[in-house]
């Protein structure tokens, strides 16, 4: 998984979920913890196919992250393409830099 911060302050998570369909994905935020589950299991080719070499087994994916208060939890977006899941965590309005005006005393 890659995690990077964009110039607009949003944090982007990129996870490899080969074999997973979008309907098998479950992304949720509960008590400030973001959990990502995906299912990459596929139907086997059948008994007539013998495994000559095995380098990977399709499986289930799970990862959890505690979110900071700086993440706008209501506007989290996710997309899936080519077995790559991208979750965008925008920066909350309250966490943006603000200039504080000094009032005349």
């Amino acid at each position: 998984m890659d995690i990077y911060e964009r110039t607009d302050g949003a944090t982007v998570l990129v996870a490899e979920v080969p074999g997973a369909k979008s309907e098998s994905l479950d992304i949720r935020v509960d008590k400030g913890v973001l959990t990502i589950t995906a299912d990459g299991r596929r139907e086997s080719l059948g008994d007539q196919y013998a495994r000559t070499y095995t380098g990977f087994m399709g499986g289930q994916f799970f990862r959890a992250f505690a979110l900071s208060d700086e993440v706008d939890r209501d506007n989290i977006q996710a997309s899936l393409s080519d077995g790559l899941l991208t979750v965008t965590l925008p920066r909350a309005e309250a966490a943006q830099t603000r200039k504080i005006e000094i009032s005349d005393g």
């Binding site: 990077y4 982007v12 979920v17 196919y49 013998a50």
Partner: protein, 149 residues
Amino acid sequence: MATLFRWPGNWDPFAGLRVMQRELERLSGRGGFGEGRNIGGGVYPPLNVYNGPTELVVECEVPGVKREDIDLSITGETLVVKGVKHPAGESDEEIRYQRCERGSGEFSRTVVLPDKVEPEGISASLVDGILTVRLPKSQAAMPKKINVK
């Protein structure tokens, strides 16, 4: 002394050696199948080889790799999977990595197939980050029933 039998014309004296080399690579933890490069931990890309009744199936896990970045070729019984894995971030944007586990770069893996195949009948598809190559076996590699008269 009369010749009792002859090796068939396409007999490959090194087939046995190649199988042995593959087994040794597997045992020594090198992952087998040639010059695989490590990207994001482990030999990349991970692959499976299946031997079916009429075809061989090779599967590769290449999440995030685009169709146009994959180069597949076959010479005899040697299948080569080459490609480029690009980093996830938008290239024109300045980004700050906090965690970079996936890795990126060029990759190449060589698979010595366990049977002879028909190069014309090979098909490949890329779905959900898994590349599946189907290679029909050549007639010579298929079992043939012989009728006794």
